[in-house]
Amino acid sequence: MNAIEIRNLSKSFRGMYAVDHLNMTVPVGAIYGFIGENGSGKSTTEKLICGHLVPDGGTITLFGKDYTDPGVRVRVGALIEDPGCFPGSSVYQNLMMQAINLGLENGEEEIRRVLEIVRMEDSANLKFKNCSLGMKQRIGIAMALLGDPALLILDEPINGLDTDGMRIMREILVDITQTYGCTVLISSHILGELEKIATHYGIIRQGRMIMEISAKEMDSRAQMFISLKTGEMQKAKALLQKKFADVREEDGSIRVYDADDPAAIVDYLMKNGHVISEIKKNKIGLEEYYIELMSQKEGK
């Protein structure tokens, strides 16, 4: 059984497809990184799963049940665009409203629990409008966590957060998946952060899923490369191109792809009179992989 199974899902606005016959599979217990450029259909897909938008066609199944089943939807927590809180009410009041909405009998206890998870135990009496962006995002997560959700849908939860805010958010997400066994669907532009937590990825472009891959598979596919800097970059690059098939100058350094022995490169360059100021063994990250994939799709 999968947490989310989407088949041929479509949604159009004024005749333009925002989601175009999309297929998607999120395994139970996964942290699914949903990646795509602006306007690629990530948020629309998430809104469709949450029942905020009515699809033109296709099916959405959550834990083997139709997504309109009240039993499964009551176990979905979402943070889509903003936390959806009343600005004039306190953090506690906003959480209490959601606890009542979910029919939780131990509302106060649950609120304490989720505030602890998002590290906001001392901020319950703050008015929502007086909270910082990072706090608001964490309140959104706390709202989504109320009532033992089996599935969390988080739309760009780390957008606009500072480094510390991102770190806290990352820790929270790992904590809730490990401790509570939640399946998490998370979309983000900050691929470096996503890479640290995701177990699966889905890459969407122009409303269509172009690739679904597990983090393990991604890791095995990721290309190795050696990056280096010399005094004469152009000459060194030309020299390396004679010996290696894929040599590029990127980000102010020379990259030798599919090479895994820095000593051999150092030896080769030094014998030809080059002085190396820096050399590193690297692996292509999610961000580079994504850019590469997009370039291929655009036919670059």
């Binding site: 905020h52 938008l53 834990f63 939807r73 936390p83 959806g84 600005p87 209490m96 177990t199």
Partner: protein, 280 residues
């Protein structure tokens, strides 16, 4: 992939779902100043109207009193579908205008704050939303009827109006108007669902329908043509006007039937619109 707990998905019953949604709406109602402000407005307006009707004019001459007793501020002496003066209009029916504005703000906040996303994520059935809003807003209007009664009575007594009345008819008239609140609240909820993306239009439409201007217009035509006016009782405004100081049990039954019928119609239509269209 291994899960750390057993996944169970029990469908909540209709009553449990409605209880949850009602709980949130009542919590919101009692925890926001708006409700209390409207209660005060509903009390002050009739008190002010009573006081103003007995104030001297610019030359210091005492004005002809608009009412003959206190209770005409609460309900008209007889069903007055056509309004000839402000006194004909200024009775408990004004609560339905205040209520319309309050419902627009109440539902508007759901959408403006984005809280509606939380509600619709966990409530797959849109019927829960329609019913809950109709019930809570009807309750708020009933409370406004009570503060209107208090304000109107105090204002009327201070203005020196007589307290003489057929108590039974007065009680039936007040109960009739309170019962009509459910139909009105359903209408306003429905209007606010239609115009959910346009807050200003929601308020304007609620105000427009709340004044009963359409029925007043039809009533004027009907009266000019010397046709019977009783069919106007089939509408919310007509039935609300019919609940007056000569009301009997049949009036109350008509109010209950009309209010319930329109509430069902608007709830069914509103649920259908919400189910077939995007939330925002």
């Amino acid at each position: 992939m291994e899960t750390k707990r057993e996944l169970k998905f029990e469908s909540p019953s209709f009553s449990k779902r409605l209880k949850g949604m009602l709980g949130v709406d009542f919590y919101r109602l009692f925890h926001t100043p708006m409700f209390y402000i409207f209660l005060v407005i509903a009390a002050i307006i009739p008190a002010m109207v009573s006081a103003m009707t007995t104030m001297p004019d610019a030359n210091g001459n005492k004005m002809e009193p608009l009412y003959s007793n206190v209770w005409q501020i609460i309900a008209a002496s007889e069903p007055l579908y056509v309004v000839n003066s402000i006194a004909d209009y200024a009775n408990m029916n004004m609560v339905f205008i205040f209520g319309g504005i309050m419902v627009s703000i109440f539902i508007g906040h759901d959408y403006k704050s984005g809280y509606v996303k939380q509600l619709f994520t966990t409530h797959a059935k849109k019927q829960d939303y329609m019913m809950s809003k109709s019930i809570v807003c009807a309750f708020a209007m009933v409370c406004m009827c009570i503060t209107y009664l208090i304000g109107g009575t105090i204002g009327g007594v201070l203005a020196g109006y007589s307290l003489e009345v057929n108590v039974g008819s007065l009680i039936l008239a007040i109960l009739g108007k309170m019962i009509m609140s459910f139909g009105w609240a359903s209408l306003y909820t429905f209007l606010n669902i239609i115009f959910r993306k346009y807050f200003g239009v929601s308020i304007a439409s609620s105000f427009f329908f709340g004044t009963g201007i359409l029925i007043i217009g039809i009533a004027a035509i009907v009266e000019n043509l010397s046709l019977p006016t009783s069919f106007l009782n089939l509408f919310l405004y007509g039935s609300s006007v019919n609940a007056c100081l000569v009301s009997g049990i049949p009036t109350l039954l008509i109010c209950a039937a009309v209010s319930a019928a329109w509430a069902v119609i608007y709830n069914v239509l509103g649920t259908r619109i919400l189910s077939k269209s995007d939330v925002y």
